[in-house]
């Protein structure tokens, strides 16, 4: 990650928080609905500061996530790289969208991440019986407006 002149710690902190939230053990019922915190954090930072957070950061985060979940090395990395790249392409439009519309884009992006990851998982020999594995994308999209507002306010205070 290229360290910007100011507020790099906020980006790191946000990503670290996202990693912690995605590693915290949850009860059985909630486990299927765990939001994709790391992807959400990446989408926000790529959208807000595309010159500082991009595909490289996403790839490293993806590798860490792979190690954390012991999924095939590269599955999350490729998914998050795709998400980050799509976000860099979309970032100018995304900034102007109302929050609801942003949520829909987030739903789509995280849905892509999960499809990619599931394909790779299937290739390695595990397949889901239902579409419940897509639930996190829906929940991430529902949480997006709050996530966005908190991040935007923090960024306005500390980064620029």
């Amino acid at each position: 990650m290229r360290q910007g002149p100011k507020g790099g710690w906020l980006i790191l902190l946000s990503l670290l928080l996202a990693f912690m939230l995605s590693a915290i053990p949850l009860p059985e019922m909630l486990q299927w609905g765990r939001p994709e915190w790391v992807a959400m954090a990446l989408i926000y930072w790529v959208m807000a500061l595309p010159e500082r957070v991009g595909v490289k950061t996403a790839w490293i985060c993806g590798l860490l996530l792979d190690l954390l979940q012991s999924s095939p090395l590269g599955a999350n990395a490729i998914g998050l790289t795709v998400v980050a790249y799509l976000t860099t392409l979309l970032h100018q439009r995304l900034r102007n969208f109302p929050l609801i519309q942003q949520s829909f884009v987030v739903l789509m992006l995280i849905g892509i991440l999960q499809m990619v990851r599931h394909w790779l998982q299937q290739w390695q020999g595990g397949a889901a019986e239902s579409l419940i594995f897509m639930l996190p994308s829906l929940i991430s999209a529902l949480l997006w407006p709050w996530w966005f507002v908190v991040h935007r306010d923090l960024r306005r205070i500390f980064v620029s």
């Binding site: 912690m20 059985e28 991009g54 595909v55 590269g74």
Partner: protein, 353 residues
Amino acid sequence: MRSIFRSSSSKWWFWVLVCLSLSLLVADRYWSGMSQVRSWLTVFTAPLQWVVDVPNQVWSAADRTLANREQLQQDNDRLRTQVLFLERQVQKMASTTAENIRLRELLNASQRLDERVLLADLIGVNPDPFQHQIVLNKGSNDNVYVGQAVLDAGGIMGQVVEVGPYTSRVLLITDAAHAIPVQVNRNGLRAIAFGEGVPGVLSLEHVPDTADIAKGDLLISSGLGGRFPYGYPVGEVTEVIHDPGEPFALVKVKPSAQLDRSRHVLLLFPSPQPLVDPAAVPAEGADAQAGSVPAPASNAAANAGTSTPQKPAATAAPAPSPDARKQDNKPKPAAGNAHTSAATPAAKKVATP
């Protein structure tokens, strides 16, 4: 101008990184050396797992500090009673073990070996609901190795599948990719218990409809396959369904380990020491291991059997000396195989009459 340059560079990086991830994926699938790379890389995620575990530790520390006197006394009383009960059982076990050894001598069977244990704490759970895995705070620095059996107070939890320097990852017996050879404690009927990817459920495959297995039967590890040592509880049969349309009986098992609750677990080290005599010479132990030939093994058993029966070695000693651990780390595969090949026919002999 700058933005045009950036977007083209991010496009370039995108393709590079996608290719890199794809090659990593292929390597992970087809090259066994990747597991080593992965275990080195866990050094980066270990701190994260520690940090995630901090609230938990703070909570339990606070719970301990703020506990009131009455509660502590109650706990103390309860534990004292429990210790008394357990000690009584151990007393009986010493004589039972000695008796067992004498009987085995009569059968000309080789002697069973006891294992040593290392206490470890659970510091993480795999967030992916498709995988039933836990992370422990002991790694290769504590001589943990891949394939090692993991227990809790109730029974077998799983086996180590990935070892980093400071942490290790355990595949639980309920994972869809896991199977464990078991036998019914009542009559020695052997089967294989498969995980189903559903928490708290195992199923026995290929059990004939006529097999003598019933609800409430205790399943113990059979030691076949050489991964798990013989005789630890695995689960209890909760349901046996005889469906005429199915070729085999449908047997559901509830694991006896508390897979989703245990915080303290035990890592088993197969030890070259015999069950009763803790002062046995290592050379003898090696003989016993090498021997599917009965003669030297029964010799070792006879030597050990003549000494006074004592409490079984080291079941309660969590930290044996590190060099001793290293020593028995190396001959592990041989020990495991010999152990099972020696142990199973004898078990059958005992079971049949």
